[in-house]
Symmetry: C2
Subunit: 349 residues, 2 copies
């Protein structure tokens, strides 16, 4: 059994180590940081003292003093750490950061602009080396100070407004259009739109893509078949029930967000329309392939987005410089079944 010495008061500091080892704090510092230039005897003495006291360096004090002042932590301001998109993003950031011994601070904004500011304040105040932001507010002009001070900032999924920084975005417009074209090509002309809060830029873009794709085919969507501002599964389920109950119900649905898709699936299921009404969702989700029918989606790749965002961050932290750039990550139509249910105008070919 190893002897556990009684720690004096609070945590031991470098002073305590130095005292016990009979050297100066500076020499102790040299040993624990591996700076070198210390005789073997003193190295051993310091290492003994470190072990005996259970000394752990205080990284915050160290980064306060060190030249570059880096804290080796980057902050992620996410929609909600527990949703699959955010947590896949979080994980991708962590994977890249891990190789450099950098930690991730993450927080959930919940589409609340005030919370967004509070989180960013909390993170910058804690000297995060960089910021990855999925914004919820109208404008992020308040970030200008940080950006000027040289903190790398990357926006993900939603474009920056009022501040000029790198961004990793999805081509929502094209993705939505792709979904709609797919449905039209399977014989549908009456395609409903169910989407998230219009306050969210990506929701607006997806709606635009939907409208324009329809118009490409000379179709004008029925206003009753458009539902905005659905932010929970319950909202979406209720809206879908309403739309499907009306006369001239649509033969296909485009659901422009994750939770909306799931809520709509519940409605379809309980109305026993899931084998009859076609559905394409935006954003993939776990088990989509195991449902009956399997759900066709326009998939985003949050992992790829996270990795790209992290690599931009680290390149800037390494001193590379370039004008703020927006990167687009491709969406991918994943054909599984629900989107291929034939509509009334199916080509006879």
């Amino acid at each position: 059994m190893t002897e556990e010495p009684v720690a004096p008061r609070g945590r031991p500091t470098l002073r305590d180590v130095a005292l016990l080892a009979g050297v100066s704090t500076k020499t102790a510092s040299r040993v624990v940081t591996g700076e070198g230039g210390v005789t073997a005897a003193k190295v051993a003495a310091v290492q003994d003292a470190v072990a005996k006291l259970g000394y752990r360096p205080n990284f915050t004090a160290s980064s306060l003093r060190r030249a570059n002042g880096r804290t080796a932590a980057i902050a992620a301001v996410l929609e909600d750490v527990s949703n699959p998109f955010s947590s896949a993003l979080h994980r991708a950031l962590e994977d890249v950061a891990r190789d450099r011994d950098v930690m991730i601070f993450a927080g959930s904004v919940d589409e609340d602009p005030a919370r967004e500011r509070a989180l960013i304040h909390a993170f910058t105040t804690r000297q995060a080396d960089a910021l990855v932001v999925v914004p919820a507010s109208d404008s992020q002009h308040y970030l200008a100070g940080e950006v000027n001070a040289g903190t790398p900032v990357v926006f993900v999924d939603r474009p920056p407004v009022g501040v000029d920084v790198d961004a990793v975005l999805v081509d929502n417009h094209a993705g939505a259009a792709q979904a709609v074209h797919h449905l039209v090509s399977h014989g549908h002309r009456d395609i409903a739109y169910l989407g998230d809060l219009l306050a969210i830029a990506t929701a607006r873009q997806r709606f635009q893509g939907y409208k324009e794709a329809l118009s490409d085919h000379g179709i004008r969507p029925s206003p009753e078949h458009i539902a905005h501002d659905l932010h929970t599964e319950e909202d979406a389920e209720a809206a879908a029930r309403r739309i499907l109950a009306g006369e001239d119900a649509p033969t296909a649905l485009f659901t422009a967000q994750n939770l909306v898709t799931i809520g709509v699936l519940r409605a379809l299921r309980s109305l026993r329309l899931h084998e009859r009404v076609a559905l394409v969702g935006f954003d993939d989700f776990p088990l989509a392939d195991l449902l009956q029918p399997p759900v066709t989606v326009v998939a985003q790749d949050p992992s790829a987005m996270g990795r790209l965002a992290a690599s931009l961050i680290f390149r800037r932290l390494d001193g590379e410089a370039w004008p703020p750039t927006t990167h687009y990550v491709q969406t991918r139509l994943v054909v599984r079944g629900s989107g291929e249910i034939q509509g009334p105008h199916a080509a006879a070919s």
Copy 2:
């Protein structure tokens, strides 16, 4: 040439603010911390300077100096931030912490003991005020120093070994037994077990619960119908295929973990056995209710666990003290369909 207005290098500090406002740093500090005892005129001057310079306090420097040295951050050492259990836990911690303006540091261990230590080292070195740990290692004796130094530590989901701290656990044994009793009561006697790495304590407990519940009914499980160490969906799918292909295939399956359940569902689906072989899974997952048949599970409540863990942490941070205690959170059998498929020994009642 006139004197260049010295563009402050990097971020403005309290010194810069004080200088511009014509007060001492201490007075500037009093204003920004709201300590009070400053005349209105100087308050205004300082606030002007803060606004003009875009000053943000350096929270790490502040916590270095402040009496209690708190960093208002707690660390969460999780299995994998992107899996639903971990991220629900993470979110619950965040929700409780948010009310106190405390941030969460989270990291993924991936069942790697070395990574667990590295993460905890990184977090303690950054002066996290407390630790929430889902351990992966055999022993966490190395935490003794931290615990002695007074850092609150709570283990979640898996018990601490080699260190005496609070824990929030699930009664895996009882939950697994409940699943098995349920299957037996629906006429099954040949019930397979498919579970995660035996190195994980919870997996062992669930297996124990499985075995003992069977033995309560006088059933001895067939060794060919037991598969351990399945840690990915693919592992689980392969194992399920093997078990279901053999002669005397089981009529029911108990899947002891999330991903295992999903892998097994894939196998059942592709073998077209999903309506014939009963299944109860341990741990709930999104969309379980939308599958065909809907999946019966023994649900854990990661949110409740996270909230409980956080409240223990904060009570200790608030100075309350008590001997380390283990709390058990109940599991709940969620009956949905897959677990109620009748077996050959169904009572004729």
